[in-house]
């Protein structure tokens, strides 16, 4: 079936308005759900940011899951599978289903236990209190907000590109990006964690269903997976064999490790480690995680791969998923999937903005600017901060500094630098404030220099090595930064003694 958008004139305009109607309508419904949840939300910080620490398994699982429902999963992943083959399923499965689940226990459960005892709301707060250091608290919050910026931007880029693909260019890139920005701001201003968690659950279940319906629809239109495999054999013969010059073992391992550790330090993920109602909720989520990841990633990335076998051509600056759906499913269904993806991205971005605003007000503004700030004023600062942050990421998204994958991996790499110093602090009572500052500071500097300094080719023993390139011999420099952070945190802690205001016993819980 030819895409309606390919037909001329009025038909194309009519189809475009149907698609826009579905997208905007869906976003409005999601907003309404947030409003209902808002009416049930209390006004104190614990309720606003942590939903009163009372999230059950289904909601905690899906609200964490929803952070996977980002432009990185729906658009960047299928694009990569379309361009390079389906091995991306392995990268994301290993990182998210396996490594992240283990960190969920090692970092998440440990933080939950500590949070139960001391009532922490954010990671910087927990570290600042343990090490008696406002500077450390501010550093971790600042670093987190810095790397959150490109990841929020990624959602706006994804939405902009999605509407270009869905409407065949009738809605310009900036229009889609602006649309999601407006909804993001409205949404996060109107609901706290409870609103976000509720819609995350609904979005998660919805997207999980429609992505499988999309798979069934495409497969029945083209004659089943065997027919698509034959097309792949003809169009992209290297796709079906495991591994390629792109998917090298170094690439697979670096990407999986960096993203898995990075994810745990995302403000919106890390804050969820404090919100579980009971340990049982954390255990159930941990167990179900690999299967849930499988259910989302396999269909999403297979669709991208199949598009290559079906000879779909993707216009410059668009994403493969909307184009594929536009080709093989009715306009309203394609629009519904894209609307669902955008709503899910909106809801994920809201979690990010919400957690980001708690870092901003509690860990930067209050300790450094105005310690005696009133709760009312703080709430307005949080919302004002969200508007400013989302507006800046929107403006930055207009410059389109890289592909979705590049922008996303850069952000993950930045967060990953925090993970090992935090793990050392969680498990080694002799960790000192100076060790933490050194480990976090140096690893950030190393990684930042490689992100922002242009690569310089230098001659080392007859071979040319690109200094400040993002990879060395195929290995991501983020791994080196992580190792440096761990070594410095341990080494400097070893060489220094803890100050009298450092309270190692704060992290001693349970079986320690």
């Amino acid at each position: 079936m030819p895409s309606p958008a390919l037909l001329s004139g009025g038909l194309s305009a009519a189809a475009t308005s149907v698609e826009l109607l579905v997208v905007v309508g869906y976003l409005l419904v999601a907003l309404l759900v947030g409003l209902v949840a808002y009416r049930l939300t209390g006004t104190d910080a614990e309720d606003y940011y942590l939903a009163g620490r009372s999230l059950g398994t289904l909601v905690l699982l899906f609200t964490t899951f929803a952070t996977l429902l980002s432009a990185f999963t729906f658009f960047a992943g299928p694009n990569l599978a379309y361009a390079q083959g389906p091995e991306w399923i392995l990268v994301m499965g290993t990182m998210d289903g396996i490594l992240f689940a283990m960190l969920w226990y090692l970092i998440g459960y440990k933080q939950w236990l500590i949070g139960q005892q001391h009532g922490y709301v954010t990671l910087p707060e927990m570290l600042g209190d343990r090490f008696g250091s406002t500077r450390l608290r501010g550093l971790v919050a600042g670093v987190s907000l810095f790397w959150l910026f490109p990841y929020v931007m990624l959602q706006q880029m994804g939405a902009g590109e999605a509407l270009v693909g869905l409407t065949d260019g009738a809605v310009p890139y900036w229009g889609g990006a602006a649309l999601i920005t407006v909804f993001m701001i409205l949404y996060v201003g109107l609901a706290g964690m409870r609103g976000v968690a509720w819609t995350d659950t609904i979005q998660g279940l919805f997207m999980l269903s429609v992505i499988w319906i999309a798979v069934a629809w495409v497969l029945s239109a083209v004659g089943g997976p065997t027919a698509v495999a034959a097309g792949l054999d003809a169009n992209a013969p290297t796709f079906l064999a495991l591994g390629s010059s792109f998917y090298t073992p170094a690439y697979i391992i670096s990407t999986a490790v960096v993203i898995a550790f990075g994810v745990t330090m995302f403000p919106q993920i890390n804050q969820r480690f404090f919100v579980a109602e009971s340990a049982t909720v954390l255990k159930r989520s941990f167990t179900l995680w690999p299967v849930l990841v499988l259910l989302l990633f396999v269909p999403a990335f297979l669709l991208g791969t199949w598009a290559a076998g079906l000879g779909i051509s993707v216009p410059e600056g668009a994403n493969v998923l909307p184009v594929l759906l536009g080709e093989y499913t009715p306009a309203w269904f394609a629009a519904l999937v894209i609307a669902g993806a955008m709503a899910a991205m909106m809801s994920s971005s809201d979690s990010m903005l919400l957690s980001g605003s708690s870092y901003f007000t509690r860990d930067l503004y209050r300790p450094f600017v105005e310690p005696a700030v009133t709760a009312d004023r703080e709430a307005w600062l949080a919302r004002g901060g969200v508007v400013a942050f989302a507006t800046m990421t929107f403006l930055a998204s207009l410059t389109r500094p890289g592909t979705l994958i590049q922008v996303g991996s850069t952000a993950f790499g930045g967060f990953a630098q925090l993970a090992l110093p935090v793990m050392v602090a969680l498990y080694w009572p002799k960790t000192t404030r100076r060790g933490m500052l050194a480990g976090i500071g140096a690893s950030q500097l190393l990684y930042l220099s490689h992100v922002f300094v242009p690569a310089i080719p230098v001659d080392v023993g007859g071979t040319t090595v690109a200094l400040f390139a993002r990879t060395y011999g195929g290995w991501d420099v983020a791994l080196a930064g992580m190792a440096l952070g761990a070594v410095l945190t341990i080494g400097v802690s070893w060489a220094t003694t803890a100050g009298s205001d450092e309270a190692a016993e704060r992290f001693a819980v349970g079986a320690d």
């Binding site: 399923i89 065997t226 495991l242 819980v509």
Partner: protein, 71 residues
């Protein structure tokens, strides 16, 4: 069972779970089953196994290493 042997057992199990998520021994293999690569089926099966192992860990290992709320 000796506590350190038990801990080493869990550690080894988790290392195997991580290492096997990518079927390295199928490198370059392009055999298809039902239109999907064999290596993808391995990964799908492996994730289900991982889920089962995680379930066992929550019953027999979870509190043992980090403690529980009442500890």
């Amino acid at each position: 069972m000796d506590a350190s042997i038990r801990a080493a057992g869990w550690l080894l199990t988790f290392v195997i779970i991580v290492a096997g998520a990518v079927p390295w021994f199928f490198w370059g293999n392009s055999q298809l089953i039902g239109g999907l690569p064999l290596w993808l089926w391995w990964h799908i099966g492996w994730m289900v196994v991982a889920s089962a192992v995680f379930a066992a860990f929550t019953r027999h290992g979870w509190e043992r290493y980090l403690g529980g709320v009442d500890a």
